[in-house]
């Protein structure tokens, strides 16, 4: 189990790798598309990377509900094994 802070750091690492987002710009209230400029294909890549890193499954219908970094963190916290 990762802590909330560890999850946020992990999500920030993925965002930097996939979309070139600076880790300092990543905070729970930020929207992936509106604030961090992540396009839809990159969002799919990020979801796959999150699945690998945190051992969670993100079905497509759940992915649509993940709008902000905070949404991703809560989803991971709820679903990690």
């Amino acid at each position: 189990m990762s802590s909330t802070a560890e999850i946020q750091t992990g999500v920030a690492e993925i965002l930097e790798e996939v979309a070139g987002v600076a880790p300092a710009d990543v905070s729970p209230e930020k929207s992936f598309t509106d604030d961090l400029d992540v396009d839809s294909l990159s969002m799919v890549e990020i979801a796959t990377a999150v699945e690998d890193k945190f051992g969670v499954a993100i079905p497509d219908d759940e992915l649509g509900n993940i709008k902000t970094v905070g949404d991703a963190i809560s989803y991971i916290e709820k679903n990690q094994g």
């Binding site: 996939v18 979309a19 294909l41 890549e45 796959t48």
Partner: protein
């Protein structure tokens, strides 16, 4: 349409090639006689008959941002690098041309082969869920044109001719037509290729099309030479910015040359074998010269397609000899660059334009002992070192598997 508005000129050039990461370094290396060919040392190559390649002199990672690069196939990366150089060179961004009047025509012979093959490995090893969502836009053959269009914000249309090794030249002709038909005011054209991978290497080798002179990389690509035994696969891209002459003049653009005419034909003979007398190529050359309003006597220089294959070079020599004559200074630059497939016609157009500008014809590398064929013996093929000459019109040939023939005529302004 008046003749003046149909006059098309070249106002920008870009390239990244086995000889250099831009136009200037590539041209300098070409005139200095340097070779871009090396022997592959990866483990996979040990059972391959042909082990030579002409890789990019400058890795795209040094010229393009990491995050941007990971969404682009290597063929798209080099296309964007060459296109952005040409765009800067033409001062396209500050030209004031309406984006809805800017078009892109960018060809490739093979397309995103590295992505297709790389993602297939992932599919086999990890399953469908791990295949990248960027796979399709990276492998589609219009991908390079689309990436270039996005880079410059072109909204008048993005087109991607695919005609194997004639693709780059076909893109230039297509761009010229868009301007002649007033469908755009500025067109960024070019060709790209990056498919150095075991599969294309094995495929070309199985056709017996590649040189197996593995112990002498720098001497392997030898157009028109008696000892030639095939081409050397190369990667890279080249781009031109085309505009109508009056518009270029009005905005004070620097003009390199006039793209005076183009000719396109198809062999209707065989899917891959060249017509023995290069009949389709000859018709393309004649058409281009006529389109330019010139006669064969006006052509002072020919940049030949000559890839160093036994059949192709003599067929082209026959066509040049019969259609243009023996007066032009002929060169075949693939002796140093290798064969850039879908980028070849664009890169060799850059060389043709620079030859016109500098009034110098690069030497044909490794042409130690010209083929005994009567046409090769008759032509004035520049060898050993570049030759200075005075000429105002030059022709660039490009031919592709599938029987595609392109000829482009450039003139001084």
């Amino acid at each position: 349409m008046s003749t003046s508005t149909a006059d098309v000129v070249v106002t920008g050039m870009g390239a990244t090639t086995p000889l250099g990461g831009d136009v200037a370094s590539t041209w300098e290396a070409l005139l200095a006689g340097r070779s871009g060919v090396t022997r592959i040392t990866d483990d996979w190559v040990k059972d391959f008959p042909a082990q030579l390649v002409a890789r990019l002199a400058v890795d795209p990672a040094e010229q393009i941002d990491r995050v941007r690069a990971r969404r682009l196939d290597r063929s798209q990366q080099v296309a964007v690098i060459a296109a952005e150089e040409a765009w800067r060179d033409a001062a396209g961004a500050t030209s004031g041309v309406d984006p809805e009047r800017i078009a892109v025509v960018f060809g490739t012979g093979i397309g995103g082969a590295l992505t297709l093959l790389g993602q297939d490995d992932i599919l086999e090893q990890k399953g469908p869920k791990r295949v990248s969502p960027h796979t399709i836009p990276m492998l589609m053959p219009n991908g390079p044109a689309a990436a270039v269009g996005l880079a410059v914000g072109a909204k008048a249309g993005v087109h991607a001719p695919v005609s194997a090794c004639a693709s780059g030249a076909e893109a230039i002709r297509w761009g010229m037509d868009l301007l002649r038909f007033d469908r755009a005011d500025m067109v960024l054209v070019g060709g790209t290729e990056a498919c150095v991978h075991p599969l294309p290497m094995a495929g070309f080798a199985a056709m017996r099309a590649m040189s197996t002179r593995n112990d002498e990389p720098g001497r392997a690509s030898r157009p028109f030479d008696k000892g030639r035994d095939g081409f050397v696969l190369a990667e890279g891209a080249a781009a031109l910015v085309l505009e109508r002459a009056d518009a270029a003049k009005a905005r004070g653009a620097r003009v390199y040359a006039r793209l005076a005419g183009a000719g396109a034909t198809s062999d209707g003979y065989d899917l891959v074998a060249p017509h023995p007398e290069g009949a389709g190529g000859a018709r393309a050359m004649a058409a281009a010269i006529k389109d330019a309003g010139l006669t064969a006597a006006d052509i002072g220089h020919v940049n030949a397609h000559a890839t160093s294959t036994p059949m192709g070079d003599t067929a082209e020599a026959t066509a040049i000899h019969g259609t243009i004559g023996d007066h032009p200074l002929v060169t075949a630059t693939k002796g140093q660059t290798g064969h850039l497939l879908g980028a070849a016609g664009a890169l060799e157009s850059v060389f043709t334009i620079l030859a016109l500008r500098d009034q110098i014809v690069p030497a044909t590398a490794n042409l130690d002992d010209p083929d005994d064929h009567v046409a090769v013996q008759s032509l004035d093929i520049v060898r050993r070192e570049p030759r200075r000459a005075s000429f105002s019109a030059a022709l660039n040939d490009s031919f592709g598997f599938g029987g595609h023939n392109m000829a482009l005529v450039f003139t001084t302004v």
